[in-house]
Symmetry: C2
Subunit: 163 residues, 2 copies
C-alpha cells in the first residue's frame, strides 16, 4: 500500500507564510549543480525581491555558484532562518526550485532593477557597479513549505506571486 | 590572462574555524540532486558529529532529500548560521562537498552511533527508533570556508579531520 502523501497542497495560510518568508529574507542558501563534477554545490547569497515580488540576487563572477548557474540555470533556494533559540527544525522554511536568469548590464530594465535593489540593500552600493557583479532573477518552478514537523505544503509558481 | 585565484589553501586558523563551525552546528542546509528532474534540491537537516568528528544526520525516509541521497550520494552541506544582527554575508560559513552513506539499523556500530547522537540530540529520542528514520554519515570530499568578503579558503578532507 502506498504511503499517504505527507505534503498537502498550499492553503491561504501556507501561501501567506511562504510569501512572508520570501519577503523577509535578506539572504538565502543556494543549491546549484557544479558543472565540472555534476555534484551539488551550496552557498549563501544575498536575496531580495524584484518589483514583481520574485527572488533576486546580486552575485560575483568570481563565485563558484555564478559559474555553475551560467552553465545550468536549474537551482534551489531556501529561506527562513532559525533564530538562536528553539528547535531549528521546527522553524518554518521555504524551499524553492528555481530557474536562474542573468540580467545583462546593458539590458532594458537594468537601471530600474539596480535602483530597486539598492533601496533594500544600500550597502551593495559599494560593489553593484563592479564589472564582476551581475543581477540574477530566480523564476520559481515549485516550492515546498515546511512549517514545522508534520506541516508540509506544496506550492506552485502561481502560489508564490504576490497578489 | 587568467584571474588570480581568489581562494587560498587553508592555514591553521582557517582549519580551526572550519572545525569550530562544524562542531557548533546543530543543523545544516543540504543540497542534493533530485532523481526525477536532475535539478538541485535543498532542505534543512539536523546535524551532529560522529565519534570521529565527521558530520552525521538522522533523517526520515518520508523526506525528499532521503530519496535523493538513496539514488545519488553526492551532496553538499553548509553550516555557520548568521545571527540576527550584522551583514549575513560577512558571517563565516563552511560549504562541504560530501558523499552520503546510510547506516543500516542492524549494522555493527549502529547502537554506539545512536547513543552518541542522543547525547547531543536528546529530543531525537522521540523518533530515533521509528522505522522511517535512518542515520546518514557525510564523508567530506572537499570544502570551502568563506570567512567574510575576500577571505575564502579551500580545505581538503584531511583538513576536516579533528586532530
Amino acid at each position: 500500500m502506498p504511503r499517504p502523501d505527507p505534503v498537502a497542497p498550499a492553503d491561504a495560510e501556507a501561501r501567506a507564510l511562504a510569501l512572508a518568508l520570501l519577503a523577509g529574507a535578506r539572504h538565502a542558501a543556494l543549491a546549484v549543480i557544479d558543472p565540472e563534477t555534476a555534484a551539488p554545490g551550496i552557498s549563501r547569497i544575498a536575496l531580495g525581491l524584484d518589483a514583481q515580488g520574485l527572488p533576486l540576487t546580486l552575485i560575483s563572477q568570481l563565485a563558484p555558484h555564478t559559474a555553475a548557474l551560467r552553465v545550468n540555470p536549474a537551482a534551489a533556494l531556501m529561506v527562513g532562518e532559525p533564530g538562536p533559540k528553539g528547535d531549528p527544525l521546527t522553524h518554518p522554511r521555504l524551499m524553492l526550485r528555481v530557474s536562474a536568469s542573468f540580467l545583462d548590464r546593458n539590458a532594458p530594465g537594468h537601471a530600474a532593477l539596480r535602483a530597486h535593489w539598492l533601496q533594500s540593500h544600500p550597502k551593495s552600493t559599494l560593489y553593484v557597479d563592479f564589472a564582476d557583479f551581475a543581477f540574477v532573477r530566480f523564476s520559481p518552478v515549485s516550492a515546498l513549505l515546511n512549517a514545522g514537523f508534520g506541516r508540509a505544503f506544496r506550492l506552485t509558481a502561481a502560489d508564490l506571486l504576490p497578489h
